[in-house]
Symmetry: C2
Subunit: 276 residues, 2 copies
């Protein structure tokens, strides 16, 4: 069982923290004493593609998880092409790897390295999308299952989260961007249908991440962030949509994500390539 998750967004949006939180594993070392990286203004910042793999256990199933991170995205003063091209190249490269394996005689050992889902982190500005967000999503939405999240959403009040989601969804619709939509099946029971609808309505998920365990005033130990004015609990659905994201990505729709990648995105790519 393998799953390949790509994570994209500007620096400082809590991506590393969220990944560690999602999989309850320190996949990324969070800087306890962050180092200053004096950016050299003369040199453009390259977008690197970093992969980190780990074995995760979910519902008693062992999972080979690979997270593909793209540090440097959006870091430049001039982000034309240089931000999204390396990411799109990586997605295509993984399709090509699969295509190559498919054409071999012995196909029993095919390894699926294709990107099964792309988490795109949106800055919590309270406003609509930025041009870079839109341009990036347009470049990838037909190649991957695109799941946008509002990063570090504890900076927005409940009312601001609602407004933000509306603005972002309007922008996405207006720009013709397609998002991954958790499917409902004919044989789903009512409970499943309503759970799927509840989850779909929360997109873009307003997420908060934390691997710190803290004590609440009423004595519980929770994952969260402790401020002088209160504690936000990551696993509390009143505080953020983290649980919903985890359900979509890991518990309920991982197979769907892999399936649409194989049957839709990959087929589209393969057809496009063979027609050239």
């Amino acid at each position: 069982f393998s799953f390949n998750l790509m994570v994209v967004g500007a620096k400082g949006l809590g991506k590393s923290t969220l990944i560690n939180t999602l999989f309850n594993k320190e996949l990324y070392k969070l800087d306890t004493v962050p180092k200053v990286n004096y950016p050299d203004l003369e040199q453009p910042v390259d977008v690197k593609i970093d992969t980190v793999s780990a074995e995760i256990e979910e519902n008693n199933v062992k999972l080979n998880l690979t997270v593909i991170d793209c540090p440097g995205f959006g870091e430049n003063i001039d982000n034309t092409d240089v931000s999204w091209k390396p990411v799109v190249d990586e997605i295509n490269h993984r399709f090509d790897q699969y295509l190559e394996q498919e054409t071999k005689v012995n196909r029993s050992t095919i390894v699926d390295n294709r990107v099964h889902a792309l988490l795109y982190f949106i800055e919590p500005t309270g406003h609509s999308l930025k041009p870079l967000d839109i341009e990036f999503m347009k470049q990838v939405h037909e190649k991957v299952n695109l799941i946008p999240v509002i990063a570090r959403s504890d900076t927005l009040t409940e009312k601001e989260v609602k407004q933000s989601k509306q603005l972002i969804l309007d922008d996405i619709k207006n720009q013709g961007i397609t998002l991954f939509n958790p499917p409902i099946y004919d044989n789903d029971d009512d409970e499943t249908v309503s759970a799927t609808n509840e989850m779909a309505e929360k997109i873009p998920f307003a997420v908060v991440g934390s691997t710190n365990y803290i004590q609440t005033p009423d004595g519980r130990t929770v994952r969260g962030r402790s401020y002088p004015w209160g504690i936000i609990e990551v696993d509390n659905e009143e505080d953020c949509d983290f649980i919903k994201l985890r359900q979509l990505l890991i518990r309920n729709f991982m197979e769907e994500l892999k399936e649409t990648t194989a049957k839709v995105s990959y087929e589209k790519y393969r057809t496009g390539k063979l027609l050239k």
Copy 2:
């Protein structure tokens, strides 16, 4: 009494909110129902220079406040030049206006439109400065009193605020950027000296803005932001540095800001211009 404050930073950093909070006046209409502005990716976003003026009363003194806002800053996918040039041009333009008035015969009616302070809003990423932040600050720090603030700082825990400030100050020092430093005078009493030091140590100020009055659980009415997990109070020095910023900008150092503008920044500009 006039004071000209320039405000610069990416969209969504709470600039309009903070200005309204600082001066306790609705200088900027905060979108109650924000409109989507579908960005046209083909057209670069121009940085506009918007001024809004109001009469403010502070310590029983009437003040003609002008706030110069620069919407569009950092909005583009390619922000080279297009982000800072209009801002630098505006600062220079106001110096030129003053130079022109100075050369007239009747100087009794000189109007001081020069930029007395520039509040630069840094994104609360928890990491060090971005290339655009550095490039912008280098372009303006010798022309204006530069006061950086960490925007929407309620997204950072106390520990993250401390780390952030350290990283940012290291970056600023390493890049040779000069900030406005509230001066200490020989005739200042001990209380004033320690108050000035306390204020200077907080730079870059971790700010939070809000013009909403809310009820605390213990029955007080405060300006703040209400989250499901707690209430952050803008005027509470435990929660953020808003009060310190207000003291620097309005209560204690407004005269110094105008004076250094006249005697240092303007003189440097004038000399540079006359030598050409």
